[in-house]
Amino acid sequence: MNTIESDEVRIAGGLRRLVATIVPGAAVEGLQRLSGGATQQTWRFEAVSSAGSTPMILRRAPSGDIEARLISAARERDVPVPLVRHVLTPADGLGSGFIMDFVEGETLGGRIVKSEAFAVARETLSSRCGEILAKVHSIDPAQFPSLRSSSPSELLQHWEDQYRSTQWPRPVFACAFRWLRQTCPPAPARPRVLHGDFRNGNLIIGSDGIRAVLDWELAHIGDPMEDIGWLCVNSWRFGRMDKVVGGFGDLADLIAGYNQAAGASVRIESCKWWEVFGTLRWGVMCATMTRDFRTTDPTVERAAIARRASETEIDLLRLLAG
Protein backbone atom coordinates (compact mmCIF):
# COMPACT_ATOMS: atom_id res chain seq x y z
CA MET A 1 0.00 0.00 0.00
CA ASN A 2 2.73 2.45 0.99
CA THR A 3 4.79 1.76 -2.11
CA ILE A 4 1.76 2.31 -4.30
CA GLU A 5 0.87 5.55 -2.55
CA SER A 6 4.39 6.98 -2.72
CA ASP A 7 4.58 5.87 -6.36
CA GLU A 8 1.43 7.84 -7.01
CA VAL A 9 2.81 11.01 -5.44
CA ARG A 10 6.05 10.73 -7.44
CA ILE A 11 4.22 10.00 -10.70
CA ALA A 12 1.74 12.83 -10.19
CA GLY A 13 4.66 15.25 -9.75
CA GLY A 14 6.50 14.02 -12.87
CA LEU A 15 3.36 14.03 -14.97
CA ARG A 16 2.41 17.58 -13.98
CA ARG A 17 5.63 18.96 -15.47
CA LEU A 18 5.45 16.72 -18.54
CA VAL A 19 1.82 17.03 -19.53
CA ALA A 20 1.99 20.82 -19.56
CA THR A 21 4.48 20.47 -22.44
CA ILE A 22 2.48 17.80 -24.34
CA VAL A 23 -0.78 19.75 -24.17
CA PRO A 24 0.27 23.38 -23.62
CA GLY A 25 -0.80 24.55 -20.20
CA ALA A 26 -2.66 21.35 -19.32
CA ALA A 27 -3.08 20.14 -15.76
CA VAL A 28 -3.21 16.51 -14.63
CA GLU A 29 -6.44 15.34 -13.03
CA GLY A 30 -7.93 12.04 -11.93
CA LEU A 31 -4.69 10.05 -11.85
CA GLN A 32 -5.42 6.40 -11.10
CA ARG A 33 -3.63 3.12 -11.53
CA LEU A 34 -5.58 0.66 -13.65
CA SER A 35 -5.76 -3.03 -12.90
CA GLY A 36 -5.12 -5.59 -15.59
CA GLY A 37 -1.37 -5.35 -16.18
CA ALA A 38 0.35 -8.08 -14.20
CA THR A 39 3.93 -7.00 -14.80
CA GLN A 40 3.65 -3.49 -16.14
CA GLN A 41 2.20 -0.33 -14.68
CA THR A 42 -0.59 1.46 -16.47
CA TRP A 43 -1.95 4.77 -15.17
CA ARG A 44 -4.87 6.72 -16.49
CA PHE A 45 -5.29 10.48 -16.15
CA GLU A 46 -6.94 13.47 -17.77
CA ALA A 47 -4.93 16.26 -19.39
CA VAL A 48 -7.16 19.25 -18.68
CA SER A 49 -6.61 22.55 -20.50
CA SER A 50 -8.77 25.45 -21.67
CA ALA A 51 -9.33 23.39 -24.85
CA GLY A 52 -10.98 20.59 -22.86
CA SER A 53 -10.13 17.32 -21.19
CA THR A 54 -8.18 14.54 -22.93
CA PRO A 55 -7.94 11.08 -21.33
CA MET A 56 -4.42 9.66 -21.53
CA ILE A 57 -2.44 6.64 -20.42
CA LEU A 58 0.99 6.53 -18.83
CA ARG A 59 2.63 3.19 -19.47
CA ARG A 60 5.71 2.41 -17.40
CA ALA A 61 7.67 -0.61 -18.55
CA PRO A 62 11.38 -1.50 -18.81
CA SER A 63 10.99 -1.95 -22.58
CA GLY A 64 8.96 1.25 -22.94
CA ASP A 65 11.14 2.88 -25.64
CA ILE A 66 10.97 0.02 -28.08
CA GLU A 67 7.29 -0.58 -27.32
CA ALA A 68 6.53 3.03 -28.29
CA ARG A 69 8.53 2.67 -31.52
CA LEU A 70 6.69 -0.55 -32.38
CA ILE A 71 3.32 1.09 -31.79
CA SER A 72 4.29 3.95 -34.09
CA ALA A 73 5.54 1.54 -36.78
CA ALA A 74 2.30 -0.42 -36.49
CA ARG A 75 0.31 2.78 -36.83
CA GLU A 76 2.10 3.51 -40.11
CA ARG A 77 0.96 0.08 -41.30
CA ASP A 78 -2.65 0.94 -40.48
CA VAL A 79 -2.83 -1.27 -37.36
CA PRO A 80 -5.30 0.20 -34.83
CA VAL A 81 -3.13 1.42 -31.93
CA PRO A 82 -3.29 4.36 -29.54
CA LEU A 83 -1.46 7.55 -30.59
CA VAL A 84 1.87 7.79 -28.72
CA ARG A 85 2.17 11.36 -27.35
CA HIS A 86 5.56 11.21 -25.67
CA VAL A 87 8.36 8.73 -24.98
CA LEU A 88 9.81 9.17 -21.48
CA THR A 89 13.39 10.40 -21.19
CA PRO A 90 15.64 10.23 -18.10
CA ALA A 91 14.98 13.97 -17.58
CA ASP A 92 11.28 13.19 -17.06
CA GLY A 93 12.14 11.23 -13.89
CA LEU A 94 9.45 8.61 -14.45
CA GLY A 95 11.58 5.69 -15.59
CA SER A 96 11.06 3.98 -18.96
CA GLY A 97 7.75 4.23 -20.73
CA PHE A 98 5.55 6.52 -22.72
CA ILE A 99 2.33 8.50 -22.76
CA MET A 100 -0.42 7.62 -25.22
CA ASP A 101 -4.04 8.49 -25.85
CA PHE A 102 -6.63 6.54 -23.87
CA VAL A 103 -8.83 4.45 -26.16
CA GLU A 104 -12.35 3.81 -24.89
CA GLY A 105 -13.59 0.22 -25.04
CA GLU A 106 -13.61 -3.22 -23.46
CA THR A 107 -10.48 -5.28 -22.74
CA LEU A 108 -11.93 -7.90 -20.37
CA GLY A 109 -11.93 -11.16 -22.33
CA GLY A 110 -14.92 -12.64 -20.51
CA ARG A 111 -17.13 -9.71 -21.48
CA ILE A 112 -15.80 -9.67 -25.05
CA VAL A 113 -16.79 -13.30 -25.64
CA LYS A 114 -20.17 -13.14 -23.86
CA SER A 115 -21.70 -9.65 -23.89
CA GLU A 116 -24.63 -8.92 -26.23
CA ALA A 117 -23.03 -5.50 -26.84
CA PHE A 118 -20.35 -7.18 -28.97
CA ALA A 119 -22.53 -9.78 -30.69
CA VAL A 120 -22.29 -8.07 -34.10
CA ALA A 121 -18.61 -7.18 -33.68
CA ARG A 122 -17.77 -10.81 -32.81
CA GLU A 123 -18.90 -11.98 -36.26
CA THR A 124 -15.98 -10.28 -38.00
CA LEU A 125 -13.44 -10.20 -35.15
CA SER A 126 -11.59 -13.32 -36.26
CA SER A 127 -10.96 -12.27 -39.87
CA ARG A 128 -10.11 -8.75 -38.66
CA CYS A 129 -7.50 -10.26 -36.29
CA GLY A 130 -6.02 -12.07 -39.29
CA GLU A 131 -5.89 -8.84 -41.29
CA ILE A 132 -4.29 -6.92 -38.40
CA LEU A 133 -1.70 -9.64 -37.76
CA ALA A 134 -0.77 -9.59 -41.46
CA LYS A 135 -0.18 -5.83 -41.14
CA VAL A 136 1.93 -6.26 -37.99
CA HIS A 137 3.95 -8.91 -39.81
CA SER A 138 4.59 -6.48 -42.68
CA ILE A 139 6.72 -4.21 -40.43
CA ASP A 140 10.32 -4.31 -41.62
CA PRO A 141 12.35 -6.36 -39.08
CA ALA A 142 15.46 -4.36 -40.03
CA GLN A 143 13.90 -1.37 -38.22
CA PHE A 144 14.15 -3.31 -34.95
CA PRO A 145 17.61 -4.87 -34.74
CA SER A 146 17.44 -5.12 -30.93
CA LEU A 147 14.48 -7.51 -30.98
CA ARG A 148 15.43 -11.15 -30.33
CA SER A 149 15.12 -13.33 -33.42
CA SER A 150 14.68 -17.09 -33.06
CA SER A 151 13.89 -20.13 -35.17
CA PRO A 152 11.20 -22.49 -33.83
CA SER A 153 13.83 -24.87 -32.45
CA GLU A 154 15.71 -22.02 -30.74
CA LEU A 155 12.45 -20.73 -29.31
CA LEU A 156 11.64 -24.18 -27.98
CA GLN A 157 15.09 -24.43 -26.39
CA HIS A 158 14.61 -21.00 -24.78
CA TRP A 159 11.34 -22.03 -23.14
CA GLU A 160 12.71 -25.42 -22.16
CA ASP A 161 15.60 -23.64 -20.40
CA GLN A 162 13.05 -21.45 -18.64
CA TYR A 163 11.11 -24.55 -17.53
CA ARG A 164 14.25 -26.26 -16.27
CA SER A 165 15.27 -23.14 -14.35
CA THR A 166 12.17 -23.56 -12.17
CA GLN A 167 13.60 -26.88 -10.90
CA TRP A 168 10.11 -28.21 -10.39
CA PRO A 169 9.15 -31.37 -12.30
CA ARG A 170 6.08 -31.19 -14.53
CA PRO A 171 5.51 -34.48 -16.33
CA VAL A 172 2.94 -32.96 -18.72
CA PHE A 173 5.39 -30.25 -19.77
CA ALA A 174 8.04 -32.94 -20.36
CA CYS A 175 5.63 -34.75 -22.73
CA ALA A 176 4.82 -31.52 -24.54
CA PHE A 177 8.47 -30.52 -24.96
CA ARG A 178 9.26 -33.94 -26.39
CA TRP A 179 6.31 -33.80 -28.83
CA LEU A 180 7.29 -30.28 -29.94
CA ARG A 181 10.94 -31.28 -30.47
CA GLN A 182 9.94 -34.27 -32.57
CA THR A 183 7.55 -32.28 -34.79
CA CYS A 184 9.40 -28.93 -34.87
CA PRO A 185 8.95 -26.88 -38.08
CA PRO A 186 12.02 -25.48 -39.89
CA ALA A 187 13.14 -21.86 -39.57
CA PRO A 188 10.79 -19.56 -41.52
CA ALA A 189 11.92 -18.36 -44.94
CA ARG A 190 11.14 -14.76 -43.95
CA PRO A 191 11.23 -14.07 -40.19
CA ARG A 192 8.74 -11.35 -39.27
CA VAL A 193 8.18 -8.84 -36.49
CA LEU A 194 5.73 -10.54 -34.13
CA HIS A 195 3.49 -8.82 -31.60
CA GLY A 196 4.28 -11.64 -29.19
CA ASP A 197 1.17 -11.30 -27.01
CA PHE A 198 -1.67 -10.83 -29.51
CA ARG A 199 -4.67 -12.31 -27.69
CA ASN A 200 -8.11 -11.62 -26.30
CA GLY A 201 -7.34 -9.43 -23.28
CA ASN A 202 -4.81 -7.25 -25.11
CA LEU A 203 -7.32 -5.87 -27.61
CA ILE A 204 -9.60 -2.90 -27.00
CA ILE A 205 -12.98 -3.86 -28.43
CA GLY A 206 -16.02 -1.71 -29.17
CA SER A 207 -19.35 -2.49 -30.76
CA ASP A 208 -17.58 -1.47 -33.99
CA GLY A 209 -14.79 -4.04 -33.60
CA ILE A 210 -11.08 -3.75 -32.72
CA ARG A 211 -10.16 -0.22 -31.66
CA ALA A 212 -6.60 -0.81 -30.50
CA VAL A 213 -3.93 -3.49 -30.07
CA LEU A 214 -2.14 -3.14 -26.72
CA ASP A 215 0.79 -4.64 -24.80
CA TRP A 216 3.67 -4.80 -27.23
CA GLU A 217 6.34 -5.62 -24.65
CA LEU A 218 6.77 -9.26 -25.73
CA ALA A 219 7.41 -8.39 -29.40
CA HIS A 220 10.18 -10.35 -31.09
CA ILE A 221 11.15 -11.70 -34.50
CA GLY A 222 10.27 -15.15 -35.76
CA ASP A 223 7.73 -17.34 -37.53
CA PRO A 224 4.44 -15.48 -38.20
CA MET A 225 2.56 -18.65 -37.19
CA GLU A 226 3.60 -18.01 -33.59
CA ASP A 227 1.21 -15.02 -33.27
CA ILE A 228 -1.61 -17.04 -34.88
CA GLY A 229 -1.13 -20.04 -32.57
CA TRP A 230 -0.93 -17.81 -29.48
CA LEU A 231 -4.28 -16.20 -30.29
CA CYS A 232 -5.82 -19.72 -30.26
CA VAL A 233 -4.54 -20.79 -26.82
CA ASN A 234 -7.51 -21.97 -24.72
CA SER A 235 -6.60 -19.68 -21.81
CA TRP A 236 -7.74 -16.70 -23.91
CA ARG A 237 -11.06 -18.24 -24.94
CA PHE A 238 -12.62 -17.35 -21.59
CA GLY A 239 -14.86 -20.40 -21.44
CA ARG A 240 -15.91 -20.40 -25.11
CA MET A 241 -13.77 -23.39 -26.09
CA ASP A 242 -15.69 -23.94 -29.34
CA LYS A 243 -14.57 -20.53 -30.60
CA VAL A 244 -10.92 -21.37 -31.16
CA VAL A 245 -9.82 -17.81 -31.93
CA GLY A 246 -9.92 -15.83 -28.68
CA GLY A 247 -13.29 -17.33 -27.71
CA PHE A 248 -14.94 -15.17 -30.39
CA GLY A 249 -14.20 -16.70 -33.78
CA ASP A 250 -13.22 -19.57 -36.04
CA LEU A 251 -9.74 -20.47 -37.20
CA ALA A 252 -10.78 -20.64 -40.88
CA ASP A 253 -11.86 -16.96 -40.76
CA LEU A 254 -8.61 -15.93 -39.08
CA ILE A 255 -6.52 -17.73 -41.69
CA ALA A 256 -8.63 -16.36 -44.57
CA GLY A 257 -8.32 -12.80 -43.22
CA TYR A 258 -4.58 -13.24 -42.78
CA ASN A 259 -3.95 -14.75 -46.21
CA GLN A 260 -6.04 -12.12 -47.96
CA ALA A 261 -4.22 -9.22 -46.31
CA ALA A 262 -0.74 -10.74 -46.44
CA GLY A 263 -1.01 -12.29 -49.89
CA ALA A 264 0.26 -15.41 -48.12
CA SER A 265 -0.88 -19.01 -48.01
CA VAL A 266 -0.78 -19.96 -44.33
CA ARG A 267 -2.32 -23.40 -43.82
CA ILE A 268 -4.67 -24.41 -41.01
CA GLU A 269 -2.77 -27.67 -40.47
CA SER A 270 0.37 -25.80 -39.41
CA CYS A 271 -1.53 -24.18 -36.50
CA LYS A 272 -1.55 -27.16 -34.14
CA TRP A 273 2.19 -27.10 -33.43
CA TRP A 274 1.95 -23.40 -32.61
CA GLU A 275 -1.15 -23.83 -30.45
CA VAL A 276 0.66 -26.53 -28.44
CA PHE A 277 3.75 -24.33 -28.29
CA GLY A 278 1.68 -21.29 -27.21
CA THR A 279 -0.09 -23.30 -24.51
CA LEU A 280 3.24 -24.56 -23.18
CA ARG A 281 4.79 -21.08 -23.40
CA TRP A 282 1.95 -19.68 -21.25
CA GLY A 283 2.38 -22.59 -18.86
CA VAL A 284 6.10 -21.95 -18.46
CA MET A 285 5.43 -18.22 -18.04
CA CYS A 286 3.06 -19.07 -15.17
CA ALA A 287 5.50 -21.58 -13.67
CA THR A 288 8.38 -19.08 -13.63
CA MET A 289 6.20 -16.62 -11.71
CA THR A 290 6.76 -18.61 -8.53
CA ARG A 291 10.37 -17.37 -8.63
CA ASP A 292 9.23 -13.75 -9.13
CA PHE A 293 6.75 -14.22 -6.29
CA ARG A 294 9.51 -15.43 -3.97
CA THR A 295 11.96 -12.67 -4.93
CA THR A 296 11.05 -9.45 -6.69
CA ASP A 297 7.23 -9.42 -6.66
CA PRO A 298 5.70 -11.07 -3.56
CA THR A 299 2.14 -10.06 -4.48
CA VAL A 300 -1.14 -11.95 -4.26
CA GLU A 301 -1.67 -11.50 -7.98
CA ARG A 302 1.69 -13.07 -8.81
CA ALA A 303 0.93 -16.11 -6.64
CA ALA A 304 -2.47 -16.50 -8.30
CA ILE A 305 -0.99 -16.44 -11.81
CA ALA A 306 1.71 -18.94 -10.82
CA ARG A 307 -1.03 -21.38 -9.85
CA ARG A 308 -2.52 -21.09 -13.36
CA ALA A 309 0.24 -23.31 -14.79
CA SER A 310 -2.02 -26.34 -14.31
CA GLU A 311 -4.65 -24.94 -16.70
CA THR A 312 -2.10 -25.36 -19.47
CA GLU A 313 -1.34 -28.90 -18.31
CA ILE A 314 -4.94 -29.96 -18.88
CA ASP A 315 -5.05 -28.12 -22.21
CA LEU A 316 -1.82 -29.85 -23.31
CA LEU A 317 -3.26 -33.24 -22.35
CA ARG A 318 -6.41 -32.44 -24.34
CA LEU A 319 -4.25 -31.50 -27.34
CA LEU A 320 -1.80 -34.41 -27.14
CA ALA A 321 -3.37 -37.26 -25.14
CA GLY A 322 -7.11 -36.73 -25.54
Binding site: R170, A174, N234, E311
Partner: protein, 130 residues
Protein backbone atom coordinates in the same frame (compact mmCIF):
# COMPACT_ATOMS: atom_id res chain seq x y z
CA UNK B 1 -4.90 -32.03 18.48
CA UNK B 2 -5.33 -28.44 17.33
CA UNK B 3 -8.25 -26.27 18.20
CA UNK B 4 -11.35 -25.12 16.39
CA UNK B 5 -12.54 -23.46 14.11
CA UNK B 6 -10.64 -25.47 11.47
CA UNK B 7 -8.27 -23.87 8.96
CA UNK B 8 -10.81 -24.51 6.21
CA UNK B 9 -13.57 -22.76 8.13
CA UNK B 10 -11.41 -19.75 8.92
CA UNK B 11 -10.12 -19.43 5.35
CA UNK B 12 -13.69 -19.54 4.06
CA UNK B 13 -14.71 -16.76 6.43
CA UNK B 14 -11.74 -14.55 5.54
CA UNK B 15 -12.42 -15.05 1.82
CA UNK B 16 -16.06 -14.08 2.34
CA UNK B 17 -14.97 -11.02 4.31
CA UNK B 18 -12.64 -9.94 1.50
CA UNK B 19 -15.39 -10.42 -1.08
CA UNK B 20 -17.73 -8.15 0.86
CA UNK B 21 -15.02 -5.55 1.65
CA UNK B 22 -13.28 -5.53 -1.77
CA UNK B 23 -15.86 -3.71 -3.86
CA UNK B 24 -15.90 -0.85 -1.32
CA UNK B 25 -12.28 -0.01 -2.20
CA UNK B 26 -12.14 3.23 -4.17
CA UNK B 27 -8.99 2.32 -6.12
CA UNK B 28 -9.91 -0.14 -8.88
CA UNK B 29 -6.56 -1.96 -8.80
CA UNK B 30 -6.87 -2.48 -5.03
CA UNK B 31 -10.45 -3.78 -5.40
CA UNK B 32 -9.14 -6.18 -8.04
CA UNK B 33 -6.33 -7.43 -5.80
CA UNK B 34 -8.76 -7.98 -2.92
CA UNK B 35 -10.86 -10.20 -5.21
CA UNK B 36 -7.73 -12.11 -6.23
CA UNK B 37 -6.79 -12.49 -2.53
CA UNK B 38 -10.19 -14.08 -1.77
CA UNK B 39 -9.70 -16.49 -4.69
CA UNK B 40 -6.24 -17.45 -3.41
CA UNK B 41 -7.67 -18.27 0.04
CA UNK B 42 -10.28 -20.49 -1.60
CA UNK B 43 -7.50 -22.28 -3.47
CA UNK B 44 -5.54 -22.85 -0.25
CA UNK B 45 -8.68 -24.24 1.44
CA UNK B 46 -9.22 -26.65 -1.47
CA UNK B 47 -5.58 -27.78 -1.32
CA UNK B 48 -5.86 -28.47 2.42
CA UNK B 49 -8.97 -30.57 1.79
CA UNK B 50 -7.96 -32.41 -1.41
CA UNK B 51 -4.16 -32.71 -1.59
CA UNK B 52 -3.48 -35.21 1.26
CA UNK B 53 -5.53 -37.96 -0.39
CA UNK B 54 -4.59 -37.09 -3.99
CA UNK B 55 -0.85 -36.88 -3.23
CA UNK B 56 -0.95 -40.35 -1.69
CA UNK B 57 -2.76 -41.77 -4.72
CA UNK B 58 -0.35 -39.98 -7.09
CA UNK B 59 2.71 -41.39 -5.29
CA UNK B 60 1.24 -44.88 -5.38
CA UNK B 61 0.66 -44.72 -9.14
CA UNK B 62 4.17 -43.33 -9.73
CA UNK B 63 5.76 -46.13 -7.65
CA UNK B 64 3.92 -48.67 -9.80
CA UNK B 65 4.91 -47.02 -13.09
CA UNK B 66 8.55 -46.43 -12.15
CA UNK B 67 9.10 -49.53 -10.03
CA UNK B 68 10.92 -47.53 -7.38
CA UNK B 69 10.28 -45.57 -4.19
CA UNK B 70 11.01 -41.99 -3.19
CA UNK B 71 9.42 -38.72 -2.17
CA UNK B 72 6.66 -37.35 -4.40
CA UNK B 73 9.08 -34.76 -5.79
CA UNK B 74 11.76 -37.41 -6.48
CA UNK B 75 9.23 -39.67 -8.18
CA UNK B 76 7.92 -36.82 -10.33
CA UNK B 77 11.46 -35.78 -11.26
CA UNK B 78 12.27 -39.33 -12.40
CA UNK B 79 8.92 -39.61 -14.21
CA UNK B 80 9.38 -36.29 -16.06
CA UNK B 81 12.91 -37.31 -17.10
CA UNK B 82 11.67 -40.64 -18.45
CA UNK B 83 8.95 -38.88 -20.46
CA UNK B 84 11.46 -36.35 -21.76
CA UNK B 85 13.90 -39.08 -22.87
CA UNK B 86 11.09 -41.20 -24.29
CA UNK B 87 11.72 -44.23 -22.07
CA UNK B 88 8.09 -43.74 -20.99
CA UNK B 89 5.36 -42.54 -23.37
CA UNK B 90 2.24 -40.53 -22.60
CA UNK B 91 0.41 -42.78 -25.04
CA UNK B 92 0.73 -45.98 -22.98
CA UNK B 93 -2.54 -46.47 -21.03
CA UNK B 94 -0.98 -46.63 -17.55
CA UNK B 95 1.02 -43.42 -18.08
CA UNK B 96 -1.83 -41.60 -19.79
CA UNK B 97 -4.34 -42.53 -17.08
CA UNK B 98 -1.90 -41.32 -14.42
CA UNK B 99 -1.27 -37.99 -16.21
CA UNK B 100 -5.02 -37.40 -16.50
CA UNK B 101 -5.79 -38.37 -12.89
CA UNK B 102 -2.98 -36.18 -11.52
CA UNK B 103 -3.86 -33.21 -13.72
CA UNK B 104 -7.58 -33.41 -12.93
CA UNK B 105 -6.72 -33.41 -9.21
CA UNK B 106 -4.50 -30.34 -9.66
CA UNK B 107 -7.26 -28.49 -11.50
CA UNK B 108 -9.81 -29.37 -8.80
CA UNK B 109 -7.56 -27.39 -6.44
CA UNK B 110 -6.13 -24.65 -8.67
CA UNK B 111 -9.07 -23.79 -10.93
CA UNK B 112 -12.21 -25.90 -10.62
CA UNK B 113 -14.10 -23.52 -12.93
CA UNK B 114 -11.53 -23.63 -15.77
CA UNK B 115 -13.09 -24.41 -19.17
CA UNK B 116 -10.66 -27.21 -20.06
CA UNK B 117 -11.34 -28.90 -16.72
CA UNK B 118 -15.14 -28.50 -16.91
CA UNK B 119 -15.18 -29.79 -20.50
CA UNK B 120 -13.08 -32.83 -19.56
CA UNK B 121 -15.35 -33.68 -16.61
CA UNK B 122 -18.45 -33.27 -18.79
CA UNK B 123 -16.99 -35.51 -21.50
CA UNK B 124 -16.02 -38.17 -18.96
CA UNK B 125 -19.43 -38.10 -17.29
CA UNK B 126 -20.99 -38.37 -20.73
CA UNK B 127 -18.84 -41.42 -21.49
CA UNK B 128 -19.71 -42.98 -18.13
CA UNK B 129 -23.40 -42.57 -18.92
CA UNK B 130 -23.19 -44.33 -22.28
Amino acid sequence: MQDQPTPGEMLKTVAEFLRSAGPKQAQPHIAYQVRVAANVLDLVARELAIAPVENTLEAGRLRAILGRDGSLEELNTAFAEALDRGTLSMLTPEVRDHLWATTLAKLSIDQPTYSGYRATLAERTGLANL
